[in-house]
Structures are given as C-alpha cells and as structure tokens.
C-alpha cells in the first residue's frame, strides 16, 4: 500500500505515532468494555455477559473439550487445506503451461468455482454415504482447491519469459525448469491463493460440521443452539473467530519467511 501523505495539521511526528499506538490498543479495549456494559444492561439470556462467555470459553476450550472437538476440526481443516494446496499446484502448473489443456479444463473450473459450497453439502453426504471425517475432508478439499488452482494458473502464465529462456539456454530439461524456475516464480501468486483457500477452509469446515456431524466446533455450535445454552454457544462463536484469526496470523508469519525474497526484490525494483 502506498504510504499516505496525511494532512496532520501541524501535529509533530512523534506525538502522532504515540497517539496511533494508543488508539490501536484503546479502540479494541473500548469495544470490549462497551460489549460488557451493554450485555450487563440488557440482561437478556440470549446475550450473556462478556465475562460469563469468557469464563465458559476458558472452561470449554482450554481444558475439557479441546481434544474432543477442537482437534477434529483442526484436523479436518489441515487435511482439507493440505490436499487442496497440493492438488491445486499439481494441476495448476501443467494447466498454466499448456494452452490446450487449459482450454479443455476451463469450462469445468469456471463452473465449479462459482457453485456455492453449501449447495453440494447434502450431495456430498449422499455420494459418500457418511458424515464422518472423510466426507468433511473431501468437501473442504474440493472447494478449497479452486483459489489455489486459479492462482497457480495465473502465476504460471504471468512468468516473465526471460526466466524460461534463461533456463532453456542452460539446458535445463522440462522437469528441472518447473522445479527451479516455474514454481518459485509463480510462488507469490500461489501463496495469495493459499491465503484465500485457508479462510475458505474454515468456513467450509464450520458449514459441514454444523450441517451434520458428531464432533467438532461446528457440532458444538449446533448442539448448544438446540439445547438453548447461550453462553456456550457464544463461546463457540468466539472460538471460531479466534481460530480463524490465529490461522491467518500463522499463515502470514509463514508467508513472510517464504516470500522474503519477493518483498526484497519488489522493494529494490521500485527504486
């Protein structure tokens, strides 16, 4: 993002920076306090106090139910996302390189990427005859495939031909070229697709568990709703948010390491 030239109206740089940091902390804290105050005031069972929710959160997730529910959910996300990434890259590279293969595959890719995932939830259960882990993972993997696949194709197509020419002129055969040039060159774009895929994985995980499951965070969400246990329900919502946030943060950290060269290169090129 381009740095902004803001009209700060004469406020000195240091006090501006300090003010910003204060705001970054103060705003979330203020929102949380407001939440607590409002729920205390509203005194509605549907909106339990923030403090109650947090207590239930700790009780549920940090001890008893972590193994029974959080772990299966994470396993499904992990497996589904992992399969989607591997398949997306493995299919995306040849499709990016071959115009004919791409033409043949495009109608299918364009169709399936636009179908809303929940439309296929019941079908996935019918076809696979189960509501177990495999069904969930297949469901998650199927839809998480497309962001990675599409970005891989774009990334491969956008590679500067000079890189390929260089590799060819040094006698690298096709497989070596793909391994040492095509894949690294397309990686920034692939990683962007992976990030989208990850957030899609969380969503499809929750959907599939909420629809039909015997374990998992989505299942807990469903059960607590059905038994009118509001605080645990909120705690489940909170957990899903936290999971999504943490996974995102982890991903960004990993991305920083893997794509450090890309940032440096871009920065140097823009001078």
């Amino acid at each position: 993002m381009a740095p902004l030239a803001t009209g700060r109206g004469g406020v000195s740089r240091r006090s501006y920076q300090a003010l910003t940091i204060v705001a970054e902390i103060a705003v979330p804290v203020a929102l949380l306090i407001a939440w607590q105050l409002w729920t205390v005031h509203a005194a509605s069972p549907k909106f339990p106090r923030l403090s109650t929710i947090l207590v239930d959160f700790r009780d549920m997730w940090l001890f008893s139910q972590f193994g029974t529910h959080v772990v299966p959910s994470l396993e499904r996300i992990g497996a589904g996302f992992g399969i989607a990434v591997v398949a997306g890259i493995a299919l995306g590279i040849p499709l990016g390189l071959s115009r004919w293969a791409r033409l043949a595959a495009m109608p299918h890719i364009e169709y399936w990427r636009a179908v809303p995932p929940p439309a296929l939830l019941p079908i996935s259960i019918v076809l696979l005859h189960s509501i177990g882990n495999v069904q969930k993972i297949v469901f998650i993997a199927f839809f998480c495939l497309f962001p990675v696949l599409l970005n891989t194709i774009d990334g491969v197509r956008g590679i500067d031909p000079t890189f390929i020419d260089t590799a060819r002129s040094y006698g690298l055969r096709r497989f070596e070229r793909i391994r040492r040039v095509v894949f690294p060159a397309a990686l920034p774009q692939i990683v962007a697709g992976m990030r989208n895929s990850l957030s899609l994985a969380v969503i499809t995980m929750v959907l599939s568990e909420y629809f039909s499951s015997t374990s998992g965070v989505g299942y807990v969400l469903l059960i607590s709703k059905n038994t009118f246990q509001f605080a645990p329900m909120w705690a489940a919502i909170l957990l899903i948010g936290v999971l999504g946030y943490l996974l995102n943060v982890l991903f960004i950290l990993a991305e920083r390491r893997v794509l450090a060269w890309h940032r440096g290169w871009r920065a140097a090129a823009s001078v």
Partner: protein, 282 residues
C-alpha cells in the same frame, strides 16, 4: 521493400489477406470446439457412471434424469418462487453490505489514523465465518428473511470494506501531490482523484462479495429453512428425493455461475480503464 528482396509468403496480396482471416477464424473455431467437447465429455461421463451403476442411480441420478427433472421443475411456478427468493436475499444482502462497506471503507482508507486505530477489530472480525452466526440468528431474528439478509450482508461486508480501503489508499501519491499543489480542496481531491482510482478495487470487492452473498443467502435457507433454493435442497435431501436434490443443486450452480460471470465482467471493465499494477486475488 522491393530493393531488399522479399522473404515473405509468395502469395499475392488479396490471397494473403484471405489466408490471414481464415487462420484467425480457424483458431476461434477450434477453441469453441474444445470448449464444447470438454463439457459434452464430462456430461457423458456423468451419464455413464450413473447408468452403469459405478455409483448407484439412487445416489447419483443420471445426467439425463437430473436435467429432465430440472426441466420439469423450471416449468413450475414453485421453482421460480424459490429462485426469486434466493435472488432477493442475495441482492438485498449485497446491497446492504455495499451501502455500509463502501462509505466506511472510504472513510477508513482516507485517514491513516482511523485505519490503524480500527485495524485490530477489523482483523479479528474479518475471519469469523458468518456461518458461525447462524445459531445466533435462529434465536434472535428467527427464521425470516431478515436473518438471511443479515447473514449475507455480514459476510459480504468484509471483503468489500477491505478492498475499498486498499483502493483508496493505493492512490498514486504523485496525483495527490499534483492536486494539492493546484490548490484542489480536500473533498474535491477525494472525489476527483481518490475515488476514481479506487473504482477497480471496489469492482474486485464487489465480485468477491457477490459470490459470498450468494453462498450465505443459500446457507441461511439451507440451515434455517428460510424459503428459497437452499430450503428446497434441504427438503429434497430430508425426504430422500435425489432427483430433486440434484436438479436444485444444478439450478443453484447455474445461478452462481451467472452471478460470477456478470460480476467478473464488470470487474474487467473497471480494471481495463485503470492503469493497474495490483496483485490479484482469486
């Protein structure tokens, strides 16, 4: 070039022109052919798998059966009622999200301070899958279209907000400095420089958000029994009506494709107009 000797084709000029034209249309023809053959092959495969019982016809109705069922459904008013309900939920959800996200995005994008102050809450709320809010909606707004709109709008809001913020922030600083040096006022700078350059980003945000809005509108119908295509799918599954299940799934798929094609086309036009150097997302 007579002095240099001609190395090109030995055809005379009018023949050359015709040959060039034929080659171009030949290429387009083969592309269309590959496209059609690919789809036809997939449909044929579906038919084959189902009819030969590789997957039983109970679980996977044949392609012809499913399409026939869809065709008969399409002729009922009931189908179009459900279709219209889903479209309505989608449109209202997207509309509400746009009405909130774009102004807010412009506001937050224009002010570095505001953007940073609200960064943490946004980063935290953003990844929350809207699906997690379904039980909450059950118990508050109930199984009415209000829930559907809320869910769709909540999901569609975030991508659009983020994209709008990016767009407003990604203004070429040179353009802004030029404006400032010519004494262009703050509001006018916003209106004439920042907004136009943010349009492609907003277009991308709309594309993403329209997909999300459809997913969530359908989800609300599927899980909460709100009238629409999702409800029909749920009903078909619950009562073991496989043919209907597949027919409605197909219909939803086509709706999704239509929405995607339209929003992608709009995005392409907005992008073409802008000299963009952005990193694209799926």
């Amino acid at each position: 070039m007579a002095t240099r000797g001609d190395v090109a084709a030995t055809l005379a000029a009018p023949e050359r022109a015709r040959w060039r034209r034929d080659r171009l249309s030949l290429r387009k023809l083969t592309e269309a052919l590959v496209f059609t053959v690919s789809i036809a092959a997939a449909l044929a495969l579906w038919e084959l798998i189902s009819r030969t019982g590789v997957i039983s016809q109970k679980d996977l109705p044949a392609m012809s059966t499913s399409f026939r069922e869809l065709w008969s459904l399409v002729q009922t008013g009931d189908f179009w009622k459900a279709f219209g309900q889903t479209v309505r939920g989608w449109a209202l959800g997207l509309g509400v999200a746009t009405a909130l996200a774009v102004p807010l995005g412009i506001l937050l994008g224009s002010s570095d301070f505001a953007a940073r102050a609200f960064r943490v809450p946004i980063e935290f709320l953003r990844p929350i899958p809207s699906a997690a809010l379904i039980p909450l909606l059950f118990l508050t707004l109930g199984t009415t279209i209000k829930s559907e709109i809320f869910l769709a709008a909540f999901g569609a809001f975030w991508p659009l907000l983020v994209q709008t913020m990016y767009g407003v922030r990604d203004v070429d600083p040179l353009a802004m400095d030029t404006g400032r040096s010519f004494g262009v006022g703050r509001f006018e700078r916003l209106y004439r420089i920042k907004l136009p350059s943010a349009v492609p980003y907003i277009a991308t945000g709309l594309r993403i958000s329209s997909t999300v809005s459809l997913i969530l509108a359908f989800t609300a119908e599927l899980f909460m029994g709100i009238p629409g295509l999702g409800q029909k799918v749920n009903y078909a599954q619950a009562f073991g009506l496989e043919k209907q299940l597949y027919a409605y799934a197909l219909a939803t798929g086509f709706l999704g494709v239509a929405i995607h094609l339209v929003s992608a086309a709009v995005e392409r036009r907005a992008l073409r107009w802008h000299p963009s150097q952005r990193v694209g997302a799926a």
